[in-house]
Symmetry: D2
Subunit: 355 residues, 4 copies
């Protein structure tokens, strides 16, 4: 058993969705003890950072978007490692600054792009890397939520989502910054290719919303591959519809977050293959995928486990100061770069923008 | 029992995929007798038209794209009703001419956009028309095939597909004209909205192919709705992956051609509803859907039945010279208009093109 | 093109479910022309047999159960080949007599156990025969319908089902004779093993029903295999839930009639394989399966096509007087033998009955 | 936040599947701290009980079946509350004794029949209790594993499963006692009906196995309902195939553990309804189901979360000494009673045995 770390949390208090997820994920593998926290708006997180100086190994930042940059910056400067919720910042410039700061201070900066913590997405990445799909030509990614169709501003549970429509809290982008970043990250994580340019068409369909709540984005990736991504918060009836399709010239893969323990691989010349988490053949297919599991095949693992996998790798880095398989400052910058490109493309009339 | 008609066929001979489908579809409901045909390249279809003059009620045109216009034109001029394979022509100008000709000659011109013959797509159209989805905001349509990944030019079965890559036979577009037109038609059929402008990004991924075999197309529809469509012939491992999602502000629907007897309707405030072909509640939901079925609920119907539904309505029009629920000249022109817009958008650097 | 046959039909008139299916199935591949019929109760089918003597090649019997035996017997004696709806008769003795009669008169006797006409069930049979599953240990078959939950005796459509509860029309068994026979046939068809003994527990759950409408049946097959079958007409909400699972010591297979174009094969040491109708690899896996298809992979085929496959093979036998791949007198006798065993087991307190 | 408890564990050490699950489940909601353990065969668990006397609130028993009774008995007698793995004992007599002992000592005895911890199974129970299915007529339950097809006795991971075939460790039953008990529990939990009698047919298909590894069991429940259950460890290719179907005279429900966040409800007169964990309408449908969730709709929860739900309720009882919604001594006795009946039925030639 590895040494248990200590951490403090900013945000993630009562009514928060993501705060409890962080705490459960950290407890799942007994990675760290929560030593202190600043959970409400009234408190000053600077006091917290002072209190846990020399005590906490890392700070988990679970606040709305507008304070990510400030808190992460202060925490890094104070010498803490940091796990910061996505998006890393409101602007690319801030993200870049945080990346440099982390490098200069030799601090670990993690960002829970949860989907790359799913075992079957690690398998996807490994199958692509081994060439099982051949040359990647096309990626189709949907991340469709209907959450903005459910908001009733008189309800406390709903109000906690309403800040996402507020430019002051959410920043210049809503849906692209909130879930589009997951899409960007998944595409680059699984294919190993970078987005080189993109063309975005953003919409605001929810009544009263001035920020983007729906987007269609076309991308050119490295090695002449292309991608099409649709993200939405007004996709009525969708819950968390993340569906990834990657088409190579030999085979394709399909992963659906709503059936996360499976990965489908299709090619014309043999039956569709359904890989299943932790089946006997998985060790050979993707050792990383098997390491990222806790229960036998057939016993479903889900979101919290994937989150815990991100934390496992992050905490390993906190302990041994070496690179591990989790999204960090680089991914934070990449995704913010793509968010800014999307905003620019849309404002310029849906033209291609180099990244 | 209605009077059985008589028809003749051009194309659709040995090795053809679609010719036998036409014949089976027509036989299914005992609609018409095949009285003559011109099945091979050596024969002259003009001879056929002369032979069946005064005998055949309609001509079924099942040749490759480049001869649709010529045959349909001659047949209409000779006074036949015509069922012509899609795309109606190689150019919008030709399609428009055929539409005018059909109107002038008071001939019935049908085009088998098969998917609107599926009972559950009729249900989709009817649910939208009744307002069950509310205002339509976004449509996402995938039509993904991997057929170009299977072509082995030494194989006869494969060779019959190869003409699709040949600009002389296929025309200026491959994937958009071949299956994109189905997508355009489905979107307009189900939503009742017209595509007002589009932005297309076409690709040629198959080795040696100079025509488009993959496309991502963004659309603006009437009433401020938007659509995103991905069509491909290089989506390795896909067979005939038609998936339609329509998002309204009250509910959404999902139809997957590979499970064609179901339609899913989702809204946040009640469990997802799976409508099933010809279930007891279907008569109230969509009488047109029930009329388009032949077997009890639970006994699957598929492509040939959908095709037969198109012919049922077409033959009704041939008999009574009134409008019926099948795609015709108007849809042929609409889809060609969108094909040309897509080609223009792509050549102009993926810009918006008004339709 | 094979010579088109001629046939006459008894039963299958207005309001019949299965009569139109026979006619559509026969027309699909242009197998035979319907020359005459006796569709209503008022007419005497003996007159029909006289009228079509020397004209019709075969008689299709689509009446309720109680008249199968009489009509089939008369037709065979008159020298016709016969396609007779299941169950072949009300008693095993009658079925045996028909089998002998057909043999003596050298007539072809077919029974549309439709499921063995599905391409993917032919694949299932072929995979088992090739040993891909290893030694068969266990079969689990569900055939669950909820039709008796829908009966409203004031409705004409419903009334046409009500005869199934009437011992005079339906015979001594309802659910076992009506759909259990399909289950028995599928088990023997796919595994190539015979049921050696069975233990049945029958129930009557529908109000007022005195016949069996639900059954659980345990079976011992050849080579020490076992089977469990659940059939029902009171499985509320089920439409035609035929689900077959066959477990061998190397692999297992799963087929679901409600997604009939797929067959799943699972073994612990490789990903689940989903075979798809008419995919490129299918010719090697099961040539019989490919021959039993009409459309390319991805274009769904269903019940009518499966029915047509039965007729294709039957008509081939009618033409060439040789054995073909369709269920006939032998299967009619086997299934009636199992129906009688099930009734006997249930009446004796659910004990094992040798077959 | 509730007071954190203290617990010690017997068994569940290196190579154990279930030990880590207990620990993760307990940590998930921060229920208790592990203060001591006896993880290997060499150690004496009596020493552990002495060491943690006055310190631990409860003992988690994660050993093979043969020691459950002894450890649980000693722990209860020493005044600990106990969470004991299933089956509670090797014999019904032992289970009954433990139930009496727990009552006499006023100790909480829990048994992790995990499936009743799944939110959607709580919904199932609540829908049945509210009468949404009407009168329950038939239950069909499959619990199919292929684990015995994977055993390679040279592999450590496999060896840990081999004890299940050893009568000294596993007791007189293998598959019925190991997973059949889950099935019995689910049937009674969801329907609220008791099994009154059963008829079992057990098999030993795995090479060298003398215990049951496959079983088909027919049951008569209260209020004239019936059930059929198939459980297996030789269902090649299955992972953890728990599928429950409950048919009432108004509607039916279906739950599949391999897609655990959904519950389907079907009736003939409206579209199939798919309930989803924690959707907005779930609070009204089943408040207990919502309380048993941790993440928003669409973010999958699985086995560990269900296990944690069992522990949540158990720990609540440990704290407040009141009844809560978790399986305990009563369920341990019920399931052992059914295991003994199944063994007796099978040995007596598959006859009905009263429970």
């Amino acid at each position: 058993m590895e040494k248990r770390l200590k951490y403090a949390m900013v945000g993630g208090g009562k009514g928060s969705f993501i705060g409890p997820i962080h705490r459960m994920a950290i407890r799942m593998d007994d990675l760290a003890d929560l030593v202190d926290g600043c959970y409400s708006h009234g408190e000053d997180w600077r006091d917290l950072l002072r209190r846990v100086k020399g005590v906490a190994d890392f700070i988990a930042v679970c606040t709305p978007n507008d304070s990510h940059y400030g808190i992460a910056k202060a925490a890094l400067e104070a010498g803490f490692d940091v796990m910061c919720e996505k998006p890393l910042s409101l602007t690319l410039a801030e993200a870049t600054e945080l990346e440099r700061l982390a490098r200069r201070k030799r601090r670990v900066l993690g960002i829970p792009f949860t989907y790359s913590g799913f075992p079957m997405l690690k398998l996807a990445r490994d199958l692509v890397a081994k060439g099982e799909l051949g040359r990647i030509d096309k990626v189709v990614l949907e991340y469709l939520q209907g959450s903005f169709r459910k908001i009733d501003f008189s309800m406390p549970l709903d109000r906690r989502n309403a800040w996402k429509m507020d430019p002051r809290r959410s920043g210049p982008s809503c849906v692209v910054a909130d879930i589009g970043v997951h899409g960007f990250h998944m595409i680059e994580y699984v294919t190993g290719l970078e987005v080189k340019s993109l063309l975005a068409d953003l919409s605001s369909f929810a009544p009263g919303n001035r920020l983007d709540d729906d987007a269609s984005i076309l991308m050119r990736l490295g090695r002449s591959a292309k991608a099409a991504m649709v993200v939405s918060k007004v996709a009525t009836g969708e819950e968390n519809g993340v569906r990834l399709r990657v088409y190579g010239d030999k085979a394709s893969l399909y992963w659906n977050q709503e059936a996360p323990n499976y990965l489908s691989v299709k090619s014309p010349f043999e039956p569709e293959r359904i890989y299943k988490r932790r089946a006997p053949y998985m060790e050979a297919a993707s050792a990383a995928s098997v390491r990222a599991t806790r229960t036998p095949a057939g016993h479903h693992e889900g979101f919290i486990e994937a989150f815990a996998n991100i934390y496992d790798e992050f905490c390993a880095a906190v302990r041994d100061r070496k690179p591990h398989d989790f999204p960090g400052a680089r991914e934070g910058v990449r995704t913010m770069r793509l968010v800014e490109a999307a905003l620019k493309s849309d404002k310029s009339g849906n033209v291609w923008v180099k990244v």
